[in-house]
Symmetry: C2
Subunit: 340 residues, 2 copies
């Protein structure tokens, strides 16, 4: 398709990006973990190889259960994820994790050390954990992480966990884009956390009060149940199930897995579950934006685009007039291609 992207793409066993993508995609599906890791890197960097690979993998995906796990800092997300992995593995199910790191917006390096804990699963082929920087992703963090989930899904993992810290609009969207969204709470957290919690509850399908061995846990769960079962001033689209667990000891984790399975069974009764349609829309939208921006920055339109953006920066024109001018330029460019 995209012929000649560089000298190395001319010949050899690797061939074109499409050929190399096909080889990698098939290897990942056959269980090659290095191929899987390379595909995930390509997805994160939005390379042409990623597009070719995803086109091949997408029809194979759609079978995994995507589970979002979020909560305020200190609620114990990593510990719960580790406990869920152990529970899933004990039942013979495979699991992949996309862990979004609150990392540098520019260099994008992972800064928290708590992923290290999960490396105890390095020898288990039924577990794959991938950290993903939360730095700017074209089309949004949620679109990139659900695309990574598609790769795991096509590679045959039964469950894909999307883990993010619940502070930040983009970060919450990642967990909310899953089939089932788990919000983790802990008893007795500070005031600033209370505000975060209230926002998070609205995206929850299941709320887990973690650290269930602490005095306030049952009371916190009772308060949440009272709060969420009441009529309330705004109509809730979701009425989450409330569980108590102690991730460190594993207590309550089998019950969480049962709740996840129940939610999934209920959600897939309809033909195209709302979460899947929303994910599809977000993914298509991300590609649309990238396509448009690529064309605007491409050889034909780069100069017009730069001049238009400069005029907006100087306040000589407004963003609406500029956008309409660029859309008209794109439409004119489109004609010869579409007319044939």
């Amino acid at each position: 398709m995209t012929a000649g992207t560089g000298a190395s793409g001319a010949a050899g066993p690797a061939g074109s990006p499409a050929d190399r993508a096909a080889v990698l995609a098939d290897a990942a599906r056959a269980g090659d973990r290095r191929a899987l890791a390379r595909l995930l890197t390509a997805v994160e960097n939005h390379t042409p190889l990623a597009e070719h690979a995803l086109r091949r993998l997408y029809p194979q995906a759609g079978h995994a259960h995507l589970v979002g796990i979020t909560g305020p800092p200190g609620a114990g997300k990593s510990t719960l994820v580790a406990a869920l992995i152990a529970e899933l593995r004990a039942r013979g199910r495979t699991v992949a994790v996309v862990a979004v790191d609150p990392s540098s917006p520019i260099t994008g390096g992972a800064l928290l050390g708590d992923r290290v804990r999960m490396q105890s699963y390095a020898a288990d082929d039924g577990v794959f954990i991938r950290s993903m920087a939360s730095r700017g992703h074209a089309g949004g963090l949620a679109a990139t992480s659900t695309t990574a989930a598609v790769v795991f899904d096509a590679a045959g993992f039964d469950v894909v966990l999307l883990e993010t810290v619940g502070t930040g609009q983009s970060e919450v969207e990642v967990a909310a884009a899953a089939d089932t969204t788990v919000v983790l709470e802990a008893p007795e957290m500070g005031d600033e956390v209370q505000a975060i919690k209230a926002g998070l509850l609205e995206v929850a399908d299941i709320v887990v009060v973690n650290k269930g061995d602490r005095p306030g846990a049952q009371r916190t769960a009772a308060q949440l149940r009272a709060m969420l079962s009441g009529g309330g001033e705004h109509s809730r689209s979701k009425r989450p199930e409330i569980l108590v667990a102690t991730a460190v000891t594993g207590e309550g984790v089998p019950e969480l897995l049962a709740a996840l399975d129940r939610h999934r069974a209920a959600a897939t009764l309809g033909e195209a579950p709302a979460a899947r349609r929303a994910r599809a829309a977000a993914q298509v939208r991300a590609v649309l934006v990238e396509r448009l921006w690529d064309r605007l920055a491409g050889p034909v339109l780069a100069e017009v685009t730069a001049q238009t953006l400069d005029a907006v920066a100087r306040h000589d024109t407004d963003p609406y007039a500029a956008a309409d001018a660029l859309l008209a330029a794109l439409a004119r460019q489109e004609l010869p291609q579409e007319a044939s």
Copy 2:
């Protein structure tokens, strides 16, 4: 322009959305605070009125100094903003604040009470404070908040402060989109905050170590200076100035204002400062995405769009093929309009 959007738009003193927008925009520029508040609501809700008003206001804007203020929870952002307002007012400069609240992603209500403090300026026409929910904004939170800043700019405010909590990719982008970005730190914060800080430093033009009366403040500032002046492993695009302040007493705030003025003078030496070009691009991009999505959801293409997204949700097609199909449908729709 957009004739007949409803029965109420047919006649009367208010007239078309364009007419009403013109009346509101001119009133806001003349100092009418209720008109200003209504325009800001329209911007946040992406109404047709907002577009008409912005088209009128955009050419009048470009004179205010946009200052982003961010930092980890507990660093003292609201206190510093209050101190900066007092300092600016003492010098006869007017100031507007766009404060992004870490609020509910769905109902969008402001949940933190610390805005209340700022209501002491309610009687001062030279100060305007506006809380904005951080819930999903079409085109992104940064685009919406810089558009709100355009309204304040056109209304004649000398300085516009964009205040956000520094946890979350979208939230950091808001502050990073300003002409000058201030990152607030405090001595002796926890480990989790250290990680947040490291990411924030990369968007900083000025770093303020707040709570300067505490023992560790000067040491924290010295460490930051050593860290940021070193070569480092990655080349820094910015080399921020480090200040120490005590926002509660106002100590160091005149020096911060002097640093802000210096940074602005340096940044405007070139013809189109990088921050302004980046903001223009983000604003145009947000409009482009909205325009496309509106057309795809419009009467002509709604059915094709829904079918295409359903096919992606069922994994019968992939997001790339779907995006290309929708772009082709858009291009065909464009032809009759462009050919005339």
